[in-house]
């Protein structure tokens, strides 16, 4: 089970959370249909560090963002919704080195 740090409640078991997908999706409706479809439906699937939304649904109820390494499941950072994505991920919980640039992630 993952131990996910909620920015409000601290580290909590994964059971209390729901994943809510890709974080920092910017809505830009002033584009043509293919670009709007990209905005709505197309998501990154990086092998490496991904910014994703989680909701502490069986806790404080809040949405927040997490930087997770999709290879090791190490959670490198956790921050409140609306805050910018941290530049330098913190070390993983088990001392794993952050895998910066390990995947094909695109900067937000």
């Amino acid at each position: 089970m993952l131990l996910i740090p909620c920015p409000f409640c601290g580290p909590r078991p994964e059971l209390e959370f729901r994943n809510a997908g890709h974080a920092h999706v910017t809505r830009n409706p002033a584009v043509d249909d293919p670009a709007w479809a990209e905005t709505l439906f197309f998501r990154d699937n990086p092998k490496g560090i991904m910014a994703e939304r989680w909701r502490h649904v069986s806790g404080c109820g809040r949405f927040f963002n997490v930087l997770r390494d999709t290879v090791s499941d190490a959670i490198l950072a956790s921050y409140k919704a609306g805050e910018p994505r941290p530049d330098v991920p913190l070390p993983g919980p088990e001392g794993e080195a952050p895998r910066i640039g390990a995947g094909d992630e695109v900067a937000p």
Binding site: R12, L15, E16, G59, C60, R62
Partner: protein, 180 residues
Amino acid sequence: MTMAARALPPGAGALVSVALVPPATRLSFRGGPDAAEACAAAFGCDLPRRACRAAATEARAALWLGPDEWLLLAPEAETAALVAAIGAGLAAVPHALVDVSHRQVGFAIAGTQAATLLNTGCPLDLDPAAFPVGMCTRTVLAKCDVALWRRGVDLFRLEVNRSFADYVAGYLRVAERGLG
């Protein structure tokens, strides 16, 4: 009262007992810092600003459930008076106040094995160092959403949605057997 009778686990064990708490006034309060302050004045008990903490006086309690959400507990007879008092005190402050007295059922879980019993179905670290007296939170117990409040080292209050009360009581009854 058939519901209460069916939901009541035996609680005969010396190490842990599970009992229903008497009916109570339960109010769900949501609002910003200004609203919380005004609400505390009208309610007569602090609304903790620290995450996952409860404040209690003799007859009232306020449980932090989220950054802008509290569960207010008071004696059963005071529902109407409290709703009126808080509503009047916050007439000019945006907030949400909902009477959820009958939405939930409260259990008191007491005894040296109280944390062990809860931990059969709750993944939180309930060691007093990690979950001290006065801490409260929503969490899961046997896949059921609950609010848990540690009132003493060996005393917990569990708030369960009414429709899940039978299930939770049954679950605790079975888990209790495993404690031997």
